[in-house]
Symmetry: none
Subunit: 358 residues, 2 copies
């Protein structure tokens, strides 16, 4: 593997790190490449934990910001290696991870290498296992082993926001809704009870569900309740005795985790519901002074973030956090995932201006 060249342009670094596949649970090669490029830099103190890499300046500034990005992606679907494409005259980098969120990581890597004397101290974090259950996240692991590394006055997550500032985030809950039956040979189906047929009302309630949009501190958070998986079946000639529907509820930051659980249990009243995964949202948090200065530096009005991101994790630790990164979030996880080259450069300029302003 060629070494990462952090003197290249941030779009070129984007292509380089997208072409090192790093689907969740397979981040090792990319983490190694990042560590090899960052570890020799004398202005950074580097700590590795699994496939998470933390790099800190320690110049004794009064304020510290944390800037973080995950290095894993959802599964590749014929969209690696990356390509340069032009749509309506605009150049893009196309491929898995370009939006979510290696273009953001590329900007961070470049600035980490170049800003040897920033105006504030910076803690850079590149972490693994963001696209899977929160318990597997590199940040969960790091928060347990080195909570001190999360200290800061403000945090920025480089998740895709099309170069705008997105405040807070929705919460997310995954639950398993189960139906039960009685096995029997399908030639004598009347002896058994079909658990898959029993799931018909579960799917009907999901299909009929009308999600709400909730205003929090002036930003509009749009919710959603969806089946993300379904499974059931024993063999081609057996009446199944179990069907499991996995649902995902994305909820506004005004709902507590407990309220979100109660809502989902209410929707599926009469069915067995097991909560599999739960992460509360984060309120926008844009009233902090560093946040205000950041908004002025990068320009533009803040918007709500729909996706759950690790800003919620910082928010819970008392560190105000926003999302700011290149790429249209609507194209995250999309097979046609692609990021405008100009947006990568714009985010680089925005972050650089803020981090160097004295």
């Amino acid at each position: 593997m060629r070494a990462l060249d952090l003197t290249a342009s941030s779009p070129d670094i984007t292509r380089a790190i997208c072409d090192i596949p790093s689907v969740s649970d397979h981040e090792g090669a990319l983490a190694d490449a990042i560590e090899r490029a960052i570890a020799p830099l004398p202005h950074l103190e580097v700590h590795r934990d699994g496939d998470t890499i933390v790099a800190r300046t320690d110049a004794g500034h009064a304020q510290r910001v944390v800037i973080a990005g995950h290095i894993d992606t959802v599964p590749i679907n014929g969209n690696v290696p990356t390509r340069d494409v032009t749509i309506d005259g605009e150049p893009y980098i196309w491929g898995r991870g370009t939006v979510d969120m290696k273009a953001g990581v590329a900007v961070q890597l470049k600035l980490a290498a170049e800003l040897v004397d920033p105006a504030v101290d910076i803690t850079w974090m590149w972490y693994d296992h963001e696209e899977v259950a929160a318990e597997h996240s590199g940040l969960t692991r790091l928060a347990a082993s080195r909570p001190d590394l999360f200290a800061g006055d403000f945090a920025i997550l480089g998740e895709p926001t099309a170069g705008l500032v997105e405040g807070g985030c929705n919460g997310t809950l995954r639950a398993i809704v189960r139906t039960h039956g009685v096995r029997a040979h399908s030639a004598r189906s009347w002896i058994g009870e079909n658990a898959i047929h029993a799931a018909a009302p579960v799917l009907a309630r999901l299909a009929e569900y009308r999600p709400r949009t909730i205003s929090v501190e002036g930003l509009e958070y749009r919710e959603g309740l969806n089946a993300v998986a379904i499974s059931g079946g024993v063999a081609g000639n057996v009446i199944p005795d179990l069907c499991e529907v996995q649902v995902n509820f994305r909820f506004a930051p005004s709902r507590s985790e407990e309220e979100a659980v109660a809502h989902v249990r209410g929707v599926f009243e009469g069915f067995e519901v097991e909560i599999a995964d739960l992460a509360g949202g984060a309120r926008p948090g844009l009233d902090a002074p560093l946040a205000q200065r950041f908004l002025q530096a990068v320009g533009g009005a803040p918007r709500p973030k729909y996706g759950w991101t690790d800003v919620a994790r910082f928010s819970r630790l008392g560190v105000p956090a926003v999302n700011y990164g290149p790429g249209d979030p609507l194209l995250a996880h999309h097979d046609e995932e692609r990021v405008p080259v100009a947006q990568i450069e714009e985010v680089e300029r925005g972050l650089r201006a803020w981090l160097t302003a004295r």
Copy 2:
């Protein structure tokens, strides 16, 4: 291994051959034991094809009957070796294969050895790979290499019928009903279309479906339409773009295969339906003169067979066929599979009376 003793009682032969495991694809040891016991008998002409053994008398009788049984079982689940058990004072042989269908094979082996001068010519068939996809069946192989061996005026399959005569069998069809959607990140579900939600009407139609009972030549065939598997889902945070429901339609022998397909397509009108597996049923065939004599010899009124069995194969070749064997079909494949000793003896008496009546 001790040689099979075909002078033992049919219950003792049942225990002996159940204690030689013969899960599908591992029938060799049992086929060898059968061949060693049968091949030396001077009144039988023996042909072996893989683990299928055919033994024929050839005394020049005007009529020939085919009597067949499969020697494989579904997987063992702690229920081999067999045990003698007594329930409510009635003696049973307990263990894998006792019902489906080694007790039936035991009776056949004993009669094959003892009936040196039957009233009709007999073709005995003991075959492998019945409990798996039809393409692997020993009978499929034999029908290709030696179709002449299937010639006969009437056929009896020793599948478990609790010692009653079960005529014909239902057909079976498996189909995949598919719904499609558009993938998106579940945080912005309104961008995508949820294929699992789109399957709600598929499950609703299954749950509402009222199967018919259809009278064919005086026997009542009960049908059934069931989901036997469902799957869908990409990841916990992705709106799924595909959901597949596998359905199994068990249909009366009065419906042709084409009519069964049309019925299933009609039920799921508006959805993509792929036929995965199809085997027509068999009419009872009890109006044949040999069948009438058989019914008189064994006594009792015939019933319909619900499960698909190899009688359909003989029926398609123009050989009327019925199921007649010891064991409760509801206990087939059951971990508590067990056969009443009295039923084994009763089936032996019934077959012997019919095959020796002049």
